[in-house]
C-alpha cells in the first residue's frame, strides 16, 4: 500500500502548478490597461476574463438598469459588423463572447479553441471600441429586458434578493438599486442615454484582462496590444460610495409573489469588502456557518435536523465595497418563521461561542485543500488571476494562500462574526405566496 501511495504523490508533485509570479506574465500599458497571461498547453482551449472600469454603481436610481442595458447593446452592432454578423462569426467557430455589467465593475469573457483566439480578440476589440447602438437593436434588447423583469416579479429567489438589498442599504446607495433596472426606468431610457453612458464610462483605463490557455504569452501580448493598444476611450473616476451604515434594528419585508408553493428568504447584514484585513476570518466563519460539508451549520440545522428546506446556505459577497453577508433558504410558507428562528439561532451561536478547534481545522482544510479543484480549468485559473489584480492581492497570493488561512484563530473568526452579524439587527426579505404582514 505504501508503495502505491508513493506513486500517487509522485504524480502530484510533478504536475502541481499553482500560478504565481514565475508563471503569470503581467504587463501594464500606457493607456491604463493591465494584461495578464498564463500559458496552459494541456488542452486546446483559451479563455479571456476581463474587467471594465464601470458598473451599476455609476448609475442613479432614476436610470437604474442603464449600465446593464448598455453592456448588452454593445454586442448588437458595430461600425464593421451587424448584430447577426457579430454572432455568426462567434458561433461559427463554437466560441462564446459575452459583455455584461456588474455592480462595482463590469466584465467580459470569452471561450474558444486556441486556433480561434485572433478572431475572438478582433470581435471583442470591435464591440468594445466601435459599438453603434442601432435603434432597432436597442428596442429588441429593451423588450427582452422588460420580459425578464416580468419573470423576475414571478420569481421568489430574485424577488427576495432584490427586496433584501433594498432593506439592507440606504435608499440612494447604489447597492440598494437593481442592476437590471425596473420596468419604468427601462421604458424611459433612450438610445442616446446608452451611447452617452458608453462614451463617458467605457475605456481602457482600469481595464484588467486575463488570458489563460494554449497560447504563448508573447503571442497573446502582441495580439492584445495590436487590438487594444491604441484605444483610450473614457477616462473617468468613480464617485466615492456613500456610507452604508450597519443596521441598528431588524428590518423585515414580505414580498408577495402569488401562487407559489415555496417561499424564499434572504437574511443578513453588511459584510467586509474583499480587501478588508478580516476578510479571511469572515470567509472561514462563512464556511462554518453555511458552506462546509452539506451547507455548514445551517444545512445541518435547517435541512438535516429540521427537514425544512432543500437549501439553506450562506454567502459572503466580498467585492470592492461593503457587500452583503447573507443566508439564503427556500422553505414552505408555513415554516418561514421557524426557519428564521433556527437561522438566527445559528448566527447567535457563532457570535457567542468560539468555534471548536476540530471544526476550525476541518474548515481550514476545506478552504485550502480545495484550491487544486478551483485551479483545474482555464476559467478557474483566470478567475483567480483577475481577482489578484482587481483586489491588489499580489501575484504571489495563491502561493501564500494556505499560510494566510492557517494562521487564523478561533478568536478572529468569532470577532468577524460579532463585527458583522448582529442577531438583533439584520435585514430579512421573504418572497412567496404570503404578502407583507407588517404595516408599511
Amino acid at each position: 500500500m505504501k508503495a502505491k501511495r508513493k506513486a500517487l504523490t509522485h504524480h502530484v508533485s510533478r504536475i502541481t502548478d499553482i500560478p504565481g509570479p514565475d508563471t503569470i506574465h503581467r504587463r501594464e500599458h500606457p493607456n491604463g490597461m493591465v494584461v495578464l497571461v498564463k500559458e496552459n498547453f494541456t488542452n486546446p482551449v483559451v479563455v479571456i476574463d476581463g474587467v471594465l472600469n464601470f458598473g451599476s454603481v455609476d448609475v442613479k436610481r432614476a436610470q437604474a438598469g442603464l449600465a446593464s442595458f448598455m453592456a448588452s447593446v454593445i454586442m448588437r452592432g458595430t461600425q464593421r459588423r451587424t448584430f447577426q454578423q457579430v454572432y455568426e462569426a462567434i458561433e461559427s467557430v463554437g466560441a462564446a463572447v459575452d459583455v455584461s455589467a456588474g455592480l462595482n465593475r463590469s466584465g467580459f469573457g470569452t471561450k474558444s479553441l486556441a486556433e480561434d483566439l485572433p478572431l475572438v480578440i478582433d470581435i471583442l476589440a470591435d464591440v468594445l471600441q466601435n459599438p453603434t447602438f442601432p435603434e432597432a437593436e436597442v428596442e429588441k434588447e429593451r423588450g427582452e429586458i422588460l420580459t425578464d423583469l416580468e419573470e423576475r416579479a414571478n420569481d421568489t429567489q430574485r424577488t427576495a434578493s432584490l427586496t433584501f438589498r433594498e432593506l439592507l442599504y440606504p435608499a440612494e446607495h447604489p447597492y440598494s438599486i437593481s442592476g437590471s433596472g425596473y420596468v419604468e426606468t427601462i421604458r424611459a431610457l433612450k438610445r442616446d442615454d446608452l451611447e452617452r453612458f458608453y462614451r463617458e464610462r467605457v475605456g481602457a483605463q482600469g481595464m484588467i484582462v486575463t488570458i489563460v490557455g494554449a497560447v504563448k504569452a508573447e503571442d497573446v501580448f502582441r495580439m492584445w496590444e495590436d487590438a487594444f493598444g491604441n484605444w483610450t476611450g473614457a477616462r473617468t473616476e468613480h464617485a466615492p460610495l456613500p456610507d452604508a451604515p450597519r443596521l441598528t434594528e431588524m428590518r423585515r419585508k414580505s414580498a408577495l409573489v402569488p401562487g407559489k408553493t415555496q417561499s424564499d428568504l434572504v437574511l443578513g447584514c453588511i459584510g467586509p469588502a474583499r480587501a478588508a484585513p478580516d476578510y479571511f476570518s469572515a470567509a472561514l466563519c462563512n464556511s462554518v456557518l453555511g458552506r462546509f460539508g452539506m451547507m455548514g451549520r445551517l444545512g445541518a440545522k435547517v435541512r438535516e435536523k429540521g427537514g425544512m428546506a432543500y437549501y439553506a446556505y450562506s454567502v459572503l459577497e466580498g467585492g470592492l465595497g461593503p457587500g452583503a453577508w447573507n443566508v439564503v433558504a427556500g422553505v414552505n410558507p408555513a415554516n418561514v418563521d421557524r426557519a428564521v428562528k433556527l437561522i438566527i439561532g445559528e448566527i447567535k451561536r457563532i457570535c457567542d461561542t468560539k468555534i471548536p478547534a476540530k471544526e476550525l481545522s476541518d474548515n481550514k482544510a476545506f478552504i485550502t485543500g480545495s484550491l487544486p479543484l478551483r485551479l483545474e480549468t482555464n476559467d478557474g485559473v483566470a478567475d483567480q488571476i483577475t481577482n489578484m489584480e482587481l483586489y491588489g492581492l499580489g501575484l504571489d497570493y495563491l502561493l501564500k494562500y494556505t499560510d494566510m488561512v492557517n494562521v487564523i484563530t478561533a478568536a478572529q473568526v468569532q470577532a468577524a462574526a460579532q463585527k458583522y452579524f448582529d442577531p438583533d439587527a439584520y435585514a430579512l426579505a421573504v418572497a412567496g405566496p404570503i404578502g407583507d404582514r407588517l404595516a408599511g
Binding site: 500500500m1 461559427s92 463554437g94 474558444s112 416579479a153 407559489k260 460539508g293 432543500y310 485551479l375 483545474e376
Partner: protein, 452 residues
C-alpha cells in the same frame, strides 16, 4: 477509517480480468459484475470518482414516482462506518466536492478530490452501495426536504409546463413523470418502499464505476477492486419493458399559472441515443437552435445565429429559444422551448416556429450549416474535456444508454453526418402528428397585446 479494518492485501485484477484499452481508456468488469472505466488525465493534480447505477425515474410507475431520487438522498444519510454527521464532512475536509444526481435513466454519485485523497471516494461509495441505514427518522426528515425541493421546482413555470409535457407525451413508458415524483407519492412512500428499491438496484452488477484523473490506471483498478471486489452481486433485476405505443395525432396541454410571462414547449418524439439517426438529429438541433454544451456545469454558447433565434427572437416574438436533444436509453423527446416576449402570445410563436421548421423539412440545409454544427461540437467537446469531473460524467452517463465509446466516438459520428441525413431526419421526426405542444398561460395579462 474503513480501510484500516479491511485486508491490506492488494489483489492484482489486471492479471485475471479482461481489460479493454482504447484511446487511453481502460474498461473492465470485476468478478461481481461491477463495470469499471478508468482514464488517466494528468493535466491537474485532481481525480474524480463516480458510481453510476442503472436506475432512474424510468424504473418507476404511478404510486412510487420519485422513489429513485429519494433513495439517492438517503445515501447521504450515513452507514455504520460513516455516520451521517461524519460523512458530510469527510469529503470537504479533504478539499473535495461531492454530490448525487438522479434522472430518467440513472442515479449517480461522485467525488472530485485532490488526487492523493481519492481513496476517500472509494471508501464512501463502496460502503454506501450496500450499507446505507435508511433510519426511519431520517426517512421522515428527508420526506419534507424532498417535498421542499419539489415545491421549489413548482415555483418555476417552466418546470410546471415541462411536467405536463412529459405526462402528455408518454402514456405507457416511465418517462411520463418528472424525476422528483408526484406530491401524492412523496407523501405516501414508506421506509420499506425506499429500502426495497435500494436493495433491488444497488449492487455491483448494476453499477458502473468511473475514475478520471492524475492516477496510474492499473493502480486505481487495484484500489477499486480492493474496495468493491468483496461486495456480492445483487439479485436479478426487475424486468422493465414498457414500450411507448405509437403516437397518433398531436397532443396539446395548457398550464394556467401566475406571473405575466407565457412559455411554449414543442416536443417531437425521437429515437434513443444508440439509434443511427441520433447524430443527424444532434446536427439538426444545432442548426435550428444552436450548439448544445457538453459541459455538465453549463458554459454553453449563445445561439443568436441559429435559424430559430432569427425566426422567433430577432422577429421579437420571443426573448429566447432553446433546443434539447438529450441522449436517453429509450426513445424520448426533442424539445424546443421559448419564452414569449411581452405583448405576444404562444400561438404567434408556434405559428412562426412551424413556418421555420417547414423550411428545413422542405429543403436540405446548406453544407456550411452542417460544417458549422460540427465545428461547434468540436469546440464544446474540448471545453467539456477540461475538467475531470465533466469527463467522469460523460464516460458514466454514456454507459447508461450505450457505452463509453458513444462519448469517445461522438465527434467522428457527427462528422459523418451529411446534409442529406439532416434533411431526412427533419422529414422523419418533425411531424405534427407525433408531437406534444404545451403553453404556459399566465394569469396576469401575459400574452396580451402590448400597451405600447
Amino acid at each position: 477509517m474503513a480501510t484500516t479494518r479491511r485486508s491490506t492485501r492488494l489483489r492484482k485484477p489486471a492479471r485475471r480480468l479482461k481489460i479493454a484499452r482504447r484511446n487511453g481508456v481502460l474498461k473492465t468488469t470485476l468478478a461481481n459484475g461491477l463495470t469499471v472505466i478508468l482514464k488517466e488525465n494528468h493535466n491537474a493534480p485532481v481525480a474524480t470518482f463516480w458510481c453510476w447505477y442503472k436506475v432512474g425515474s424510468r424504473h418507476e410507475w404511478s404510486g412510487i414516482t420519485g422513489i429513485s431520487h429519494w433513495v439517492e438522498h438517503m445515501l447521504f444519510k450515513g452507514t455504520k462506518t460513516f455516520p451521517k454527521a461524519m460523512v458530510d464532512k469527510i469529503v470537504s475536509r479533504e478539499g473535495g466536492l461531492w454530490n448525487g444526481m438522479t434522472w430518467l435513466d440513472f442515479t449517480t454519485y461522485f467525488e472530485t478530490l485532490p488526487v492523493a485523497k481519492i481513496d476517500v471516494a472509494l471508501q464512501i461509495e463502496s460502503d454506501r452501495m450496500v450499507n446505507s441505514l435508511f433510519a426511519p427518522k431520517d426517512v421522515e426528515s428527508e420526506r419534507t426536504v424532498i417535498i421542499s425541493e419539489r415545491q421549489g421546482n413548482e415555483n418555476n413555470p417552466q418546470f410546471l409546463l415541462g411536467e405536463s409535457m412529459q405526462a402528455a407525451a408518454f402514456v405507457a413508458h416511465g418517462y411520463h413523470h418528472e424525476t422528483i415524483g408526484h406530491l401524492c407519492d412523496l407523501h405516501a412512500l414508506t421506509r420499506d418502499d425506499l429500502f426495497g428499491h435500494y436493495k433491488t438496484y444497488y449492487a455491483p452488477n448494476n453499477c458502473v464505476a468511473v475514475a478520471v484523473g492524475a492516477f496510474d490506471a492499473k493502480d486505481m483498478l487495484a484500489r477499486i477492486d480492493k474496495s468493491f471486489g468483496r461486495i456480492k452481486p445483487g439479485p436479478a433485476l426487475p424486468r422493465i419493458a414498457s414500450v411507448e405505443p405509437e403516437q397518433k395525432g398531436e397532443r396539446r396541454v395548457t398550464v394556467d399559472g401566475d406571473g405575466a410571462t407565457a412559455y411554449i414547449d414543442v416536443a417531437y418524439r425521437v429515437p434513443e441515443a444508440r439509434h443511427a439517426d441520433f447524430p443527424a438529429l444532434v446536427v439538426l438541433d444545432a442548426i435550428l437552435a444552436g450548439a448544445s454544451g457538453l459541459s455538465l456545469f453549463g458554459g454553453g454558447t449563445t445561439n443568436a445565429s441559429s435559424r430559430l433565434y432569427r425566426a422567433l427572437v430577432d422577429t421579437e416574438l420571443a426573448t429566447n429559444v432553446a433546443g434539447s436533444m438529450v441522449p436517453t436509453h429509450d426513445p424520448y423527446l426533442y424539445t424546443i422551448s421559448a419564452t414569449v416576449r411581452q405583448g405576444h402570445t404562444p400561438a404567434e410563436v408556434e405559428a412562426a416556429l412551424d413556418a421555420e421548421l417547414q423550411k428545413v423539412i422542405d429543403q436540405a440545409p446548406a453544407q456550411e450549416e452542417v460544417d458549422k454544427a460540427i465545428k461547434q461540437a468540436k469546440a464544446q467537446f474540448a471545453y467539456g474535456s477540461e475538467s475531470v469531473t465533466n469527463q467522469g460524467f460523460w464516460y458514466g452517463f454514456s454507459e447508461m444508454f450505450a457505452d463509453y465509446a458513444w462519448f469517445e466516438d461522438y465527434l467522428p459520428r457527427l462528422s459523418r453526418v451529411t446534409v442529406g441525413d439532416v434533411h431526412r431526419v427533419a422529414q422523419d421526426y418533425l411531424l405534427k402528428g407525433r408531437r406534444t405542444v404545451g403553453y404556459y398561460v399566465p394569469k396576469q395579462g401575459g400574452g396580451m397585446k402590448d400597451e405600447g
